[in-house]
């Protein structure tokens, strides 16, 4: 057990970001509800944002934050469109099971 440092090393933030990103990936892989899957993507974006802000801190620049701001905007827009698409899928198939959406294959 390494001693707990007085201040948080930046790499901890980055590892946290990596872990959250991976968990997002895991959510995409293992969840079967489309909405949850979509939320996993949001989780991944959030993880990326954390990285941006951590780097921004490291570089003492605001640019990273601006980037994460745009990611947020994009995520919001994506959410609107994505949920719209999910709604139409549900209207047509009455299911949100991701595994049921496989009429086109091979």
């Amino acid at each position: 057990m390494p001693p707990i440092p007085a201040a948080v090393p930046l790499s901890w933030y980055l590892v946290l970001s990596a872990v959250l990103f991976s968990l997002g990936v895991a959510g995409f892989l293992f969840r079967k509800n489309i909405i949850t899957v979509f939320m996993s993507i949001e989780l991944m974006l959030n993880a990326v944002n954390l990285s941006f802000i951590a780097f921004s801190y490291h570089l003492k620049q605001v640019d990273g934050q601006i980037f994460s701001f745009f990611v947020m905007v994009v995520a919001a827009a994506e959410a609107a469109v994505g949920l719209g698409i999910i709604l139409t899928v549900y209207k047509n198939r009455s299911t949100l099971e991701i595994d049921e959406i496989n009429s086109m294959k091979n």
Partner: protein
């Protein structure tokens, strides 16, 4: 210039005219064209030869050469379309045009009521053209034109009755067996070009003569043996003789002209022509002599028991050709050529006579269904007897003169050959007279009403009869002597006597068996049943060829090469590649399961691979 090209061109024109318009022309027109063209050709031969001094001062020993145009020119090989006449070709020219003319005349009578009349004469004229080209050729390749061309005409004429399967078969067989011979001939040509750089007779022989005899023996032997393969094909020697008996499927004038008098002797002519090469190849000479002799014996034995009159004469032809090769192989080229000429007379006569007989008895060819025709067709009978005497070597006939020369030469070459030859001569006399006795003596066993043939047929018979009897007095060997390397010759009289005696014995035996006491013949065939059967079935050579060559090739090609290799292996592989591609495609499609989470897993897998490859391995490196 003697305009030699006109000699073959006359019959070619005859062929063209009859071929193009003969179908719609009357028989008289066809006759006029066919006979006229050959007659013109014959006359032109006489004119050209007399201009060269044949009938006067004597022909010069040098060849008269006429060059027309370059036929093939590639690299340093130049082959001209050249004709040449020397003593050797002069003899052949006379024989071909002379006998050809007679047979054309005969055929107008014989074929008078056959379908395809114009076609027959067109082919016959075409044959004359090619045969004359063969004889006139000044180099091996022009000779080859004639060589192949006569083969073609032979094919066409044998298969003249093409709606009969056996006729077509026989024609095809003739052509293909000849092709085997041509294979040898062309290989010999290739060797000549490679070694001498030319195909011109003059140049090649010049070069060959300049060489000492012992030098280049290997190459000479190879060339000569290959030429002999060619000659064996064309002149029906072992092992390529099988086509000639079948060739009797053609109309009888064809058998007389092509398969007795002219074409089949082309091989002899060619080897005589190449004598300058052969003297450098003693081994090849031996082979020629032995094969010739063996052919003579074998064909004669078969001839002993055949019942089809044309078959008998066909085997007789094979046998006589064997004699000629025996002569060539013994170095007696002039004797060989002499026999070519005399044989042309008496064998043409035999066939034409046989045709007349067949004609008389309504198409019957089986000797057992003839008999007693002596009185019914006397002219035919008389002329056939002349021919039979000649072939049997009865003294003072043409056959005796040439055959004796051959046997003497053989004796000097190797005495045992002489003795075998003498025995064969006896057999020859036996089977020829057997056929004569069976046909003309005793009582008539057939159903038709025999009648004598018209003058168009008997006329040529009579001319040929005269030639058969008197042909021996033509001083041909002497005439040809300068053409060939010298052979020392000390004639011993007893050799001639033995040969004559053998012939007479054969005649006597035939008389005994077939006229005096016919039951003896049956008894003999019963006593020697196995032998008889063997001979009757021609030693089963056809069957053996079928089983050992034809069938394996056909079956092997079909089941192994075509079905097995071509369709099976190659196409199988090609289609297999196609199927493999399809299968890969099928497998790759299945990766595309349609499931979003699986797709995501692929993305994750890919990203891991890419990260590891681009990032981590780089850092480890």
């Amino acid at each position: 210039m003697h305009q030699l090209w006109l000699i073959p061109v006359f019959p070619l024109a005859g062929f063209a005219i009859n071929g193009l318009i003969g179908r719609k022309s009357s028989k008289n027109v066809v006759n006029a064209v066919a006979i006229g063209s050959v007659l013109l050709s014959f006359l032109w031969v006489l004119k050209a030869l007399s201009a060269m001094g044949l009938f006067g001062a004597g022909m010069p020993e040098e060849a008269h050469i006429e060059r027309y145009f370059t036929w093939i020119q590639s690299g340093n090989l130049n082959i001209g379309f050249d004709f040449a006449v020397d003593r050797l070709s002069a003899v052949m020219l006379l024989v071909v045009t002379g006998i050809g003319l007679l047979i054309h005349i005969y055929a107008t009578g014989y074929m008078a009521h056959e379908g395809g009349y114009y076609r027959f004469f067109a082919y016959l004229n075409l044959f004359m053209f090619f045969m004359l080209v063969l004889v006139l050729a000044a180099n091996y390749l022009i000779l080859f034109i004639g060589w192949e061309g006569v083969g073609l005409c032979s094919y066409l004429l044998i298969g003249f009755y093409f709606d009969k399967k056996f006729a077509g078969d026989a024609g095809k067989k003739a052509f293909i067996v000849n092709r085997v011979g041509d294979f040898g001939y062309s290989l010999a040509m290739f060797l000549i070009v490679t070694n001498f750089g030319s195909l011109d007779f003059g140049k090649v022989f010049e070069a060959a003569k300049a060489m000492p005899v012992d030098q280049g023996a290997g190459i000479f032997t190879a060339i000569c043996l290959l030429f002999f393969v060619g000659a064996a094909g064309k002149s029906a020697q072992i092992p390529l003789y099988v086509w000639l008996p079948d060739a009797m499927a053609g109309p009888t004038p064809v058998s007389a002209l092509i398969h007795a008098a002219t074409m089949v002797t082309a091989g002899v002519y060619m080897i005589a022509r190449s004598s300058a090469l052969f003297v450098h190849a003693p081994i090849a000479m031996d082979v020629v002599a032995i094969v010739g002799l063996a052919t003579a014996v074998m064909a004669a034995t078969i001839g002993l028991v055949q019942n089809d009159i044309k078959k008998v004469y066909a085997y007789s032809t094979v046998s006589q050709l064997g004699y000629m090769f025996l002569a060539l192989g013994s170095g007696a080229f002039a004797a060989g050529m002499f026999h070519v000429v005399t044989h042309a007379f008496f064998k043409a006569l035999l066939f034409l006579g046989a045709g007349s007989v067949i004609h008389a008895v309504g198409g019957e060819q089986d000797l057992r269904k003839m008999g007693g025709l002596r009185t019914k067709i006397p002219i035919t009978f008389a002329t056939i007897i002349c021919a039979a005497l000649a072939i049997s070597g009865v003294p003072f006939t043409s056959g005796a003169a040439s055959k004796d020369e051959i046997l003497i030469a053989a004796y000097h070459h190797a005495p045992w050959m002489y003795w075998v030859g003498v025995v064969t001569a006896g057999m020859t006399a036996f089977y020829v007279f057997r056929s004569v006795f069976m046909a003309f003596f005793g009582t008539y066993r057939g159903k038709a009403h025999p009648h004598e043939s018209p003058l168009t047929m008997t006329g040529p018979l009579m001319i040929l009869a005269v030639l058969s009897l008197a042909g021996g007095f033509i001083p041909l060997p002497h005439f040809l002597e300068p053409m060939f390397p010298k052979v020392l010759e000390e004639s011993e009289k007893w050799l001639e006597y033995t040969a004559v005696a053998s012939g007479l014995l054969g005649i006597a035996l035939a008389y005994l068996f077939y006229v005096a006491s016919p039951s003896l013949a049956d008894a003999a065939s019963k006593n020697f049943n196995g032998l008889h059967k063997l001979l009757y079935h021609k030693y089963y050579v056809d069957e053996a060829y079928d089983a050992s060559i034809v069938e394996p090739i056909v079956q092997g090609s079909r089941s192994v090469l075509w079905k097995g290799f071509d369709s099976g292996l190659i196409d199988g592989t090609v289609n297999g590649i196609g199927h493999r591609a399809m299968n890969i495609g099928g497998a790759l499609r299945r990766l595309q399961s349609g499931n979003i989470r699986s797709y995501a897993a692929w993305v994750v897998l890919g990203s891991i691979a890419v990260i590891v490859a681009m990032g981590l391995t780089g850092s480890i490196r």
